[in-house]
């Protein structure tokens, strides 16, 4: 391994730009003559729009246009789409209500888009919006999922009169019922997976630009997947055909899933740019981000686990209601179904699983993928169930897990997934050792002497990353394949541009991708540039989400590099007047086997472009190769996180005393970046477990719409993490990579809650386990202790 090769902790190439303020984010871009958009949003959770009078607003100086849903309809601009079709138990399709970019006749959540004002500057647009008179017919709100599916509930979309988007299931009900019939013990648990606001550091933004001379549009936007945005805006929303629409996603400052989706704002900006004949810019204010970024999670679940007399799991039964909000966001339908139920087997050999999921409309913001997307929800269910089952059967939670771990690979679960590789015992044992599990009893007694309750919680998570293969996801309802593309452009001097369909929004692709190219071609890492985020440069790509950029995106690069090396050998053979079969490529040099003749990679690149040594009939000049890579399977990262907490029963404050994480991500390109991803993921998972919760009141008002009321994790909420890895290379891609971006956020919540419930000695703790929640739960513990 060289200092910049695969496995080296290379400092991130992009960080110089970011930490010196030289990053180029969407809001940093300004177009000549640009105007500004302000969206008038509904203050009501649910209302008909009887009329909109924008005459006073339009008359204000500096106002260029006020546009509403009627204008969209007149221009035949289509609604926003949901790209994954889910079928009900009876085979009928899900019920997707229309989702216009600007409301047409009805608003369905606080923050829904009523009109857009376009003006010379932002303040003018905002002031003019004050002058728009909207006559609302207020309807009842419905925010609670049980109320939404109950009798007499207000109807969010007429197409779904009972507010059920779908009633879906997975697994073998009869086999699961049979498992429960012969169970010696059944563990039952009700679980709430709290609703989260994504809170990317960079708020969403968009600039629509229209070139009348060429009748072509450019959209600058905060996207994790600009090609998907272009596809949807072209093929479904109908802004312009793909060759007339360029989408540029420059530097993107975090997304966590929320920037996968195609939203109303960018749709309106690009459409309005042609209408007003000026570039139109919009940047979200933080409150708008709270209101209108797709939220995450929000499940209520009842789960039951059947055990035999030896503590082996016989079956698992799960019934979940998933809040999808007021409209179906781009991938919202698949998150609580195909990204959730297939993960319910966890790391365990469970013979029978049956899962039912109802997707529910409510008058709240749309809910879609958020770091982990379905897999944290599944992990929370299975890891809470395992911990409680171990407690109820008087078994040590580590021993209980070991007894039920899958040990042979490949392993076919009863819920679609075929796990290809892993060693769950190895990661558990390493974690137990690193966490000093043996010393926990003493630490617990020490805490007790100080009046504190100490607890330890496990989370042995599994995730499915690099969502694939395309044919498989297609058969499950995905509207697109989930492959990735790459192109390697070798310049005549031997420098390399890597064009990738993946798109970094903080993951460090410019470094890790360059490490791979540098290692494979034997050139300096600074000779490699990574190009992404522009549909005019990169032909097509599926973007970055689901921890797929390493496993899928880099595999595509690897495949293209194979082709570059193969072509390089042909060029080298001509250049050195040798037989192609005798050319070897190693450490950046093409050499003729058995001789001292060799050429450096850069020299061969030059020969490919000079093309004096071969005729065009024999070999095409140039050195540029592309590849589309479609994986053979998902990848299955796994690991064990152990959280140790100390609860102060007097104040309800939970302190995380120790955190141990042992993850198996397969082969690792850059361990420093991987560790950073794990740190961030844990912090986000701890945020969900202890601090974060999006709350709507019964009238549908978002009462956690600022950092005053929505609590994000801070450095002092977290201990210094103890991080380790085990490695079982992934057999399903050429690099053996599994993916690491979401692991921490998936693993952390059950580890925290298992630790708190261990400290308190009962299971009545909900997320977020704020001091108020924990204090109340601790009073129950103290009463129990007093009674004993």
């Amino acid at each position: 391994m060289t200092s910049t090769g695969i496995g080296a902790p290379v400092r991130r190439k992009e960080d110089f730009r970011f930490i010196t303020g030289k990053g180029q984010y969407t809001d940093d871009i300004n177009r000549q003559g640009q105007a500004y958009a302000y969206f008038l949003r509904s203050p009501h959770a649910h209302a008909t729009i009887k009329s909109i009078d924008a005459s006073a607003a339009k008359a204000k100086p500096g106002v260029l246009a006020v546009l509403t849903g009627d204008d969209l309809a007149a221009d035949k601009i289509g609604g926003l789409i949901c790209g994954w079709m889910i079928h009900n138990k009876d085979g009928s399709p899900m019920k997707a209500g229309a989702h216009p970019a600007l409301a047409q006749g009805k608003v369905r959540y606080v923050g829904d888009h009523v009109a857009v004002v376009i003006a010379e500057d932002y303040s003018t647009a905002k002031d003019a919006a004050e002058a728009i008179v909207v006559d609302y017919g207020v309807l009842p709100a419905v925010v609670d999922m049980n109320a939404a599916t109950g009798k007499g509930a207000t109807v969010v979309h007429d197409i779904a009169p009972d507010n059920r988007v779908y009633d879906w299931h997975l697994g073998d009900k009869a086999a699961t019922d049979a498992a429960f019939a012969r169970a010696k013990h059944v563990t039952k648990l009700d679980l709430v997976n709290n609703r989260l606001v994504p809170n990317a550091m960079e708020p969403r933004a968009a600039i629509g630009d229209y070139d009348a001379g060429n009748d072509a549009f450019t959209l600058y936007t905060t996207s994790q997947n600009p090609h998907v945005a272009r596809l949807v805006l072209s093929a479904f929303i109908g802004i312009a055909p793909e060759h007339k629409l360029r989408v540029i996603a420059p530097d993107v400052g975090g997304g966590f899933g929320s920037k996968i989706f195609i939203y109303a704002e960018e749709t309106v900006c690009v459409w309005a740019a042609k209408k007003v004949g000026r570039p139109v810019k919009w940047t979200a204010e933080r409150t708008e981000a709270f209101l209108s970024d797709a939220h995450g999670r929000d499940h209520i679940t009842h789960a039951e686990m059947a055990l035999d007399d030896k503590g082996k799991i016989l079956g698992l039964r799960v019934k979940t209601k998933a809040n999808l909000g007021a409209y179906l966001s781009t991938f919202s339908s698949c998150v609580p179904t195909y990204l959730y139920a297939p993960l319910l087997s966890g790391q365990y050999d469970i013979p029978a699983i049956y899962c039912e999921v109802e997707g529910v409309y409510t008058t709240t913001a749309p809910v879609d993928a958020y770091r982990g997307a379905g897999r944290p929800e599944a992990t929370f269910v299975i890891e809470r169930m395992i911990e409680v089952a171990a407690r109820e059967t008087g078994t040590d939670p580590a021993a209980f897990r070991k007894k039920n771990f899958i040990r042979k690979f490949p392993h076919q679960t009863p819920v679609i997934m075929a796990y290809d590789a892993g060693d769950y015992v190895a990661s558990l044992e390493k974690a137990l050792d690193m966490a000093d599990y043996k010393g926990f009893g003493k630490r617990r007694r020490d805490s007790a002497r100080a009046g504190k309750l100490r607890g330890i919680g496990f989370s042995a998570y599994i995730e499915a990353c690099g969502i694939a293969p395309s044919a498989a996801v297609g058969s499950l309802g995905a509207g697109v394949g989930l492959w990735e593309s790459a192109e390697i452009r070798v310049n005549p001097v031997g420098t390399v541009e890597v064009l990738t369909g993946s798109h970094s929004h903080g993951q460090g692709h410019e470094t890790t991708f360059a490490q791979l190219v540098s290692a494979r071609l034997g050139i300096d890492i600074d000779q490699v540039a990574v190009v992404h985020g522009d549909t005019d440069k990169v032909q097509f790509g599926m973007g970055t989400y689901g921890s797929r950029s390493g496993a899928v995106g880099m595999s595509a690069i690897s495949k293209a590099l194979d082709k570059v090396i193969a072509k390089g050998k042909k060029v080298a053979a001509y250049a050195m007047e040798a037989s192609e079969g005798d050319i070897e490529f190693k450490d950046g040099r093409f050499s003729v086997a058995g001789t001292d003749k060799s050429l450096a990679f850069g020299e061969v690149a030059l020969q490919a472009y000079i093309a004096h040594k071969f005729s065009g009939q024999e070999l095409e000049p140039g050195l540029k190769e592309g590849a589309f890579y479609d994986p053979t399977n998902f990848t299955f990262p796994s690991g064990v996180h152990i959280c140790e907490v100390e609860v102060d029963p007097e104040t309800g404050v939970t302190t995380i005393a120790k955190w141990t994480a042992v993850d198996d991500f397969g082969n690792v390109i850059n361990p420093m970046i991987v560790e950073g991803q794990v740190h961030g993921g844990i912090a986000q998972g701890v945020g969900q477990a202890l601090l974060e919760g999006a709350r709507y009141d019964s009238s549908g008002q978002l009462v956690t719409a600022s950092y005053m009321d929505y609590c994000m994790p801070r450095a002092d909420d977290l201990p210094s993490f103890s991080i380790g890895t085990t490695v079982t290379p992934c057999p399903s891609n050429p690099l053996g990579i599994k993916g690491c971006g979401e692991a921490g956020a998936i693993a952390a919540p059950p580890a925290v809650i298992n630790a708190i419930t261990d400290a308190l000695g009962h299971e009545d703790v909900t997320m977020p386990a704020t001091p108020q929640v924990v204090w109340q739960a601790a009073q129950k513990t103290l009463r129990k202790q007093a009674a004993e």
Binding site: H44, D697, Q701
Partner: protein
């Protein structure tokens, strides 16, 4: 989001005087904190604008005020609904009852109100305090107006 508030206040005047003041748009306008206009549109309705600030959100609310359940001179229900543009909306009502007591007239009020939009998002946790302060101001002003009669 919804809030409720109730209280009572003894005014140094007899019931018919207090009742007359409660139905006098000029008095109400002078007493309602932030009220800029209050115009009678019928015997039981008014058109009003009021400037209200809740925490970081300030807006001019335009709306209708209606008097119902009128039981002269013992009380009524006063209700209103206002749109504050991008600041959101506020609506609510108060049941007002008058009772003769020693030293004057006791006015009892029972308020319920709802706010939405930016007012709820940013001002939500302040609304109870603001509403209480506005009620206190109103009745302090109203007591002065009644005493002046």
């Amino acid at each position: 989001m919804a809030m409720t508030m109730s209280g009572d206040f003894v005014l140094p005047a007899d019931k018919p005087t207090v009742w007359a003041k409660l139905n006098d748009p000029e008095v109400l306008k002078a007493c309602i904190p932030g009220c800029q206009t209050l115009e009678k549109t019928s015997d039981t309705s008014f058109q009003a604008t009021a400037k209200i600030k809740v925490g970081p959100v300030g807006a001019t609310f335009k709306g209708k005020v209606n008097l119902t359940d009128i039981d002269a001179p013992n009380g009524y229900r006063i209700s209103g609904e206002g749109e504050g543009g991008v600041a959101g909306f506020a609506k609510g009502g108060a049941v007002v009852k008058l009772e003769t007591v020693e030293g004057g007239t006791k006015l009892t009020y029972d308020v319920e109100a709802q706010i939405g939009g930016k007012l709820a998002q940013l001002g939500g946790r302040l609304i109870n305090g603001v509403a209480k302060k506005m009620a206190d101001e109103f009745f302090a002003n109203f007591a002065k107006a009644v005493s002046a009669a």
